[in-house]
């Protein structure tokens, strides 16, 4: 059953009339009949956790917003730049009204003045489509003044980024939206606090997929949502599968489905029959890599279970590699990504990503020594935990974990 990728089940759900016919805005209507605090309670009770990567409980995040503040904002993180992630794109392309409805419910729950949808720059045509949706909703009285006759006013706007992964980090996103460099801010204050959010006002930042779940939660109830998935990981999740599988693409499945089911039953198993799976990055470039052992394959895809195998589910961008892939090359690819995307604001990340890339190039070139492998492991360790935002940790992961799990792949380059 699709809660999010309903575009696959219902033709033209991206048209407002069709969306409305299929329960569109039922959740919003229900929400408007409740007090904002009640809406937050429902979302809390549903167990929904953020789909942007960190898995923070969504209702709890909303409840941090100080109610008495006169100006508040909702910002939707549609920056979707994590390597291997393409789920938010499908939601916005095929089921845009559900995202907008979800964000309006969030806006109502915190009594926000406006919603800003921060799209990665490459999504400009999605932005155009969303702008059309917003206009259609405005004409119906669903956006703008006195939404659905409730007396609540809220604007919805789109904003295009321009090619910077770091703008997916919430405080960098806010800076970028304000017209500053997309570099992370010092926290506290956090976005939910006065002084930390958009224009220094308390702000909720949520991922596209997170908010797209909200209309369902409101219309079907918290329990219905909680019934899906596992104890600590409620609901469906979209898994973006790419790499060496037969059928790459998005799969919306309950949380807690095993990797095996996803990769074999849905994605069709290894791309080439004679080349078994070797490793997987379950959360794009940023999470720890794991060898695709049976133990790993049988692990349920949930926040809690992935911790047991030393990785995270994060945004669930699952990049699969078969046995032909050299993990030194993978480490290099991912390092180049982070070197390119480091915003440069803090020392360990700025210098570390540059340095790591230089040394890995040396190793891949055959000019490296076993010391160089130790060196990059050490440099990566020194980066981890000392940076201003998590990008520094992300950048350390590919080095630390590929070396840990696949030492031979490195050794082969530095032996001769």
């Amino acid at each position: 059953m699709h809660i999010l990728l309903r575009g696959r089940d219902i033709d033209n759900i991206k048209q407002l009339a069709v969306y409305e016919k299929h329960d569109g805005f039922a959740g919003m209507k229900k929400a408007l009949a409740m007090t904002p605090a009640e809406v937050i309670d429902v979302v809390k009770a549903s167990g929904l956790r953020g789909r942007g990567g960190a898995g923070f409980p969504t209702g709890v995040k909303w409840s941090f917003i100080p109610q008495h503040e006169p100006v508040k904002f909702v910002t939707i993180n549609a920056d979707e730049s994590e390597t291997g992630t393409f789920k938010d794109r499908e939601i916005m392309e095929e089921n845009p009204y559900q995202l907008i409805e979800g964000s309006l419910i969030c806006a109502y729950a915190i009594q926000a003045k406006a919603v800003y949808i921060y799209l990665r720059g490459e999504f400009w045509d999605i932005g155009d489509q969303l702008d059309e949706c917003i206009e259609a909703l405005r004409e119906k009285g669903f956006v703008g003044k006195n939404i659905m006759g409730s007396g609540y006013d809220c604007e919805v706007y789109t904003h295009l980024g321009a090619g910077a992964y770091i703008c997916g980090e919430e405080s960098a996103l806010l800076n970028s939206l304000e017209g500053y460099l997309g570099q992370p801010r010092v926290r506290p204050p956090f976005p939910a606090q006065k002084g930390g959010g958009l224009y220094k006002e308390a702000t909720v930042v949520n991922n596209v997929e997170t908010l797209a779940n909200v209309p369902y939660i409101m219309s079907e109830g918290a329990d219905a949502f909680k019934a899906i998935g596992t104890e600590q990981s409620a609901g469906n999740k979209i898994y973006c599968v790419s790499g060496h599988v037969k059928r790459s693409g998005n799969y919306e499945l309950p949380m807690g489905t095993t990797f095996r089911e996803l990769l074999y039953d849905h994605a069709g198993g290894p791309l080439y029959e004679d080349r078994p799976f070797k490793a997987m990055l379950p959360s794009g470039g940023s999470g720890p890599i794991v060898p695709l052992t049976d133990e790993v394959l049988d692990t349920p895809m949930s926040y809690e279970d992935c911790a047991n195998i030393g990785t995270i589910i994060g945004s669930a961008s699952i990049i699969v590699m078969d046995e032909t892939v050299d993990m030194t090359w993978v480490a290099s690819k991912v390092t180049k990504f982070f070197k390119h995307e480091s915003c440069g604001k803090c020392t360990p990340c700025r210098e570390g990503t540059y340095w790591l890339d230089k040394v890995i190039d040396r190793i891949l070139d055959g000019r490296g020594s076993p010391d160089d492998v130790k060196r990059i492991a050490d440099v990566a360790e020194n980066m981890a935990g000392t940076t201003l935002c998590a990008l520094g940790d992300f950048a350390a992961n590919p080095i630390i974990h590929t070396i840990r799990h696949f030492p031979d792949d490195f050794a082969q380059h530095v032996q001769s």
Binding site: A164, I166, E178, G179, L181, V186, Y199, K339, H340, E341, S342, C343, G344, K345, C346, T347, P348, R350, E351, G352, T353, Y354, W355, K358, V359, R362, R375, V379, N382, G385, T386, T387, L388
Partner: protein, 844 residues
Amino acid sequence: MSDTVTINVDGKDYQVAAGSNLVDAAKWHAGNDIPVFCYHPKMEPVGMCRMCLVELGSPARDRASGEVMRNEDGSPQIRYFPKLQTACTTTVSDGMHVKTNTQEVIDARNDVLEFLLSSHPLDCPICDKGGECPLQNLTMRHGPQSSRMYFEDKQLLEKHYPLGDLIFLDRERCIQCARCVRFQDEVVGDDVLAFHERGRRLQIITNSEPGFDTYFSGNTTDICPVGALTTTDFRFGARPWELNEVPSISPWDAAGENISLSMRLDRDFDGKAVIKRVMPRQNERVNEIWISDKTRFGHHFTRSDDRLRQPMMRTGGALRESNWGAALPALASALQAADGDVAAIAGSSMSNEDLWELRQLVEDLGGSRLGAWMPTQGGAEIASEVGVGFGTNLGQLGRGDAILVIASDLEEEVPIWHLRLKQAQDRGAYLVVANARHTRLEDFAVQGARNDKVVEGDAIRYGAGDAVEAMRNLSADHPAIAERLSGAENLVIVAGAEGLTLSGSQALAQGAANFLIESEHIGRRNNGLLLTLPGANGMGLHYLGFTPAATLDIMANPPKALIVAQAELLDDDPVARSWLSQVETVIYANLFDDGISELADYVMPIQSFAERDGSYVNGERRVQRFYTAQGPIGQSLPAWKLFGGLRQELGAGHLKPSAAAVMLDLSANVDSFTGISYKELAKVKREFPDVGGRDQYYGGTAYTNTGGLGIQIPSASDKRKGRRPRRVGGYEQPSLEENEVLIMPVTRLYNRQRNFRPTLMLEPRILSPFAIVNADDAAAMGISDGDIVEIVAGESRVRVRAAVSEEIAARTVALPRHLTEEAIPLTVTAGRIRMVAEAIAAGG
């Protein structure tokens, strides 16, 4: 809420100010220098460099009860963050525990330094910052022993990138701390520096036109924690460890910036000590740690070839070089010959000691007229009554306070006040700028430093020459503004003299005083009047009895003998030549010859602030002393010694052995100076932020104040509260005939005054002569922007470029002083303007 909290640093408890920054608190109270690069106590923390990582914990609280959880021995359980935290972004809280000496912290410091050095050149011996570089210092203390970065992997970047005329950037040295960017943005409010690109390619750029061109740019080279930013003045000029620091005071304006002269023996200067650079010296009440570029770069006059070197006397119609042995007796008898009709005009670069000896000399001879130059702004006596209260610190003004700046272009007149008041507004103070034309501070008043910041401010534009009326009628004309000003917790009014005659400026000062008195903003710290009196010692002139009124009297009724001391009459006043020619004996004591040698009978070389000891009284009435830094130029004498020597020659007392002795005599005889001595003036105490010690905060060692913080003379209202407003005296303003406009002399910071001209590096930034003409007037007179116009007022006739503007009152022409070769009228006057040549077409 109590004002202090207890924090534990490395096992010891300290009481620290609540709300303070952890880095500052640890340094101040625990003597623990947490190393920093990006953090700077004068700017918002940004947590960029990660050098200040510490272990941080706070008392654990029970989730349910909120009670502090305790160990068996009753001590609170401390819960530490799992990761190291940046101290610079941490505000202290009660019970906070900080560990700065654990292996984890030591490793983290080492790691961050290794990261920084991985792309930093390792050539300290040839770097301008070598020897006073935080990166170097911290590497010695915390850094790795050797580099693990392959040398050929290092990035090669531009080494000599000019950010503007004055500042060069070495891109390889820059550690991306953003201090320079933040200084321009937060402190100056002129965000002409920024980062470009990202990641390891992140670089400082400017894309402004002209480039990095503000009056404060040099400060970035001080706060840059590495040698990435250098000034064209000092660049590769000397090694910091060869320099000898001499405390001094800026000779330029009423702020009295505390400075340090970095001296070195110089081959190009006969092996004598010369000023290699000028650095700020911390005085939180006066200039904090900032100085203007004029103060920093304007020192070249002290060793200019144009300095007067020999005493000269007119014999047989010609001025001939002489020596003191001959000159002093001759001078003495010439003065005596005037039969008591002796007067003096003194400029505001004269020290208190000079003025005291000069005054006594005139009085000994039976004269009484002591003129202050330039006689353009009055009201000093009013400032001595209701001037800013004892202990005032403009750096404390903020939310709830208010500032009115009237008839002044503050950035051009007293840049440091501009900077500090603009910052007060950033902190929430309400800033009102009133003038007949647009000034830069007005921009801040109206829109703030950044377009996304809500600021409190208003601008008032009044008509030609109407400052006094605007002040007097403030409550009637602008009730809302007046109410906010009078209702403010603290109120400072800064009054200038733009568009006013001398009597007008006096009336303005009185009007401002009345507003302060009526709204009860006098006799208290951070309240009261400030005047932008020209020069460094405008208030000193007042306290020693030199007045602009006496100058006007001297001009109207020239004496037989006139001593002109450090006053460039001919440069400043188009009619000086005519009235000076009526003086029988003109005695000219100065650093430069402004052409007066044609008229003078005696030309006496005296010394600049850099060559002798002395003291000035700044606009806030703070007496501050400066010290001898370089040897004398030629046979020049300190002015006090010249005048004291003359008195001795005349048998009226003994020449004092030192400036200190003159000060003792002065303080024994002039009430305002009671209790002031060089010893008292030299006293220092530790100021916050603490920039001295082992220098972990700043990239410069010249900051520690060892020369003294000075002593503020109390105002009359500091001593007895509750003054009554006085009638605003009658004043004259020029009346305009048809076809006439008001010619309003205004000040430009960079100009062609004698003592500024030798600053060749700033010459390109001195504007070619211009005048701001009201747009409607210009249209009516057929004048277009850029046309050459002639401005005629009385004996003054100058040709300048017209700058047509809507931002100036009708029938008003703002004419900057000291840009033209010819003197412009001394104060505001009626005049005519006409077009003489069309603008040179663009590209032509």
